[in-house]
């Protein structure tokens, strides 16, 4: 249904009003959300109605939230006054969800690698199978232990979209994510690392890919949604 057409404007206006008010049933709500993402006319209609109604909420008597809310926010972000949760980022991402499947697939991938690349003495690979919340593999990263490179192969359709880019992050144990670089749009990408892979990924249990503006995150930490994650499997 193309809500942007002139004859549909009235219907869009009515739907947008009910969206902003809150009476739209769940399915219709989510459908309108999705439409608003791609269609500016729809997005504007929603914003106009939200702006109209927002003044109503001003009349509410404020209620100070309990102090534990601020403590929880500080802790999650690792801000001063509170120690960062060791698994703050990992628990937030639900990292271990679907890992059983991902690990099994990692083992499969390693098996394939062994067939394809006869092991060279002194070398042993690292493998990361990056998957979304449904545990379907989207990218596979491999590295040789002593080499400062990570090879990233896209195995399922995944594009960042116009004006955006994927960025790869190392998720160290008990610290903030560390950028490994913005990924160019290509099926196979070689990521240059600052040091041999086993050093760069020491104490790093997992990698993640987030959606950022083109050129990468301006802040040095992920600013967009984390789309894919994977555990680092070391075969040494």
């Amino acid at each position: 249904m193309d809500l942007a057409r002139p004859d549909r404007r009235e219907r869009l206006d009515r739907l947008a009003a009910e969206y902003a008010l809150g009476t739209l049933p769940g399915l219709a709500r989510r459908r309108l959300d999705r439409l608003a993402r791609d269609d500016r006319t729809v997005a504007e209609a929603l914003r106009e109605w939200e702006a109209r109604l927002s003044g109503l909420a001003d009349g509410l008597r404020p209620v100070t939230p309990p102090p534990r809310l601020w403590t929880a926010i500080q802790r999650q972000l690792g801000l001063t006054g509170a120690k960062a949760e060791p698994s703050g980022w990992t628990s937030r991402l639900g990292l271990w969800r679907g890992f059983a499947i991902a690990s099994f697939l990692a083992a499969l991938v390693l098996g394939v690698l062994r067939l394809v690349e006869p092991p060279t003495s002194g070398q042993a690979p690292l493998v990361v199978v990056l998957a979304g919340p449904d545990a379907r593999p989207v990218m596979v990263a491999t590295a040789q232990r002593g080499q400062p490179f990570l090879t990233l192969k896209t195995v399922a359709p995944a594009t960042p979209g116009a004006g955006r880019a994927f960025q790869l992050w190392a998720l160290p144990q008990g610290g903030n994510p560390r950028s490994l670089g913005v990924l160019p749009a290509a099926e196979v990408v070689q990521v240059r690392l600052a040091a041999p892979a086993d050093q760069v990924l020491a104490q790093v249990p997992a990698l993640a890919v987030s959606l950022e503006p083109a050129g990468g995150s301006p802040t040095g930490l992920p600013t967009g949604p984390v789309l894919f994650t994977g555990r680092v499997e070391r075969m040494y």
Binding site: A17, G22, P25, E44, R47, R52, L56, T80
Partner: protein, 215 residues
């Protein structure tokens, strides 16, 4: 609807509600800009100034303090990460934040309607703060400066049924079915109250905006 006389504002010793609102929003815009640069003190101040209001909104819709806290935590963490891309020309900070809180709470309420919840990439995105793209429409520019008093004045002009239905829906997140139950009226009646009430609100606000801009 009579628009507020300008002379009254000029003569009163207290700043008018719109001036207070403007000052408050200007302060919040400044704080958000600082938060975008990673200033923790600014973030703490932003939280202190806005969270009581947001908590009130969330608790009213969710009727559950624990979920309200979870959602607010998620939202303020997102504010920390996304403050850098907040655009003050698009909407006032309180409007922006109130929309986010209301939308997340309503999504939460409506999600409970489903028998099975399957996470698709779209649903994951819906949990993120999506900031509008593109130039603001003329109506948005007009409404960006609308005083809170305008919409409250306009709500006062509604019929009793329309006003009550809209208030229950807005403040408590009631669906049409829940409105019908709560108000002990047929579904068709409450739907019509909501629809006519919203149409009337829009006409009233458009008039108020026009009256202000022509001063």
């Amino acid at each position: 609807m009579a628009s507020r006389p300008q002379a009254e504002d000029a003569l009163s010793a207290e700043p008018s509600p719109s001036a207070r609102g403007d000052a408050r929003n200007a302060a919040l815009v400044g704080l958000l800009a600082q938060v975008g640069l990673g200033n923790q003190k600014a973030f703490e101040a932003f939280y202190a100034r806005t969270s009581p209001h947001m908590y009130a909104v969330a608790v009213r819709i969710l009727r559950d303090a624990a979920t309200a806290e979870e959602i607010l935590q998620e939202i303020y963490v997102s504010v920390w990460h996304h403050a850098g891309s907040y655009d003050a020309t698009r909407s006032q900070p309180l409007t922006w934040l109130t929309s986010i809180v209301r939308n997340r709470c309503l999504d939460q309420l409506r999600r409970r309607e489903l028998d099975t919840v399957t996470l698709t990439p779209d649903d994951e995105d819906a949990a993120e703060i999506e900031l509008p793209s593109g130039a603001p429409s003329p109506a948005e520019l007009l409404l960006a400066g609308a005083e809170a008093q305008s919409v409250r004045d306009c709500v006062e002009t509604l019929e009793a049924g329309q006003k009550q239905a809209i208030a229950l829906a807005f403040f408590h997140g009631l669906s049409h079915g829940e409105l019908a139950t709560q108000m002990r009226e047929p579904l068709g009646t409450v739907k019509s109250w909501v629809r006519r009430g919203m149409e009337k609100l829009k006409r009233c606000l458009d008039q108020a905006g026009y009256a202000r801009s022509s001063r």
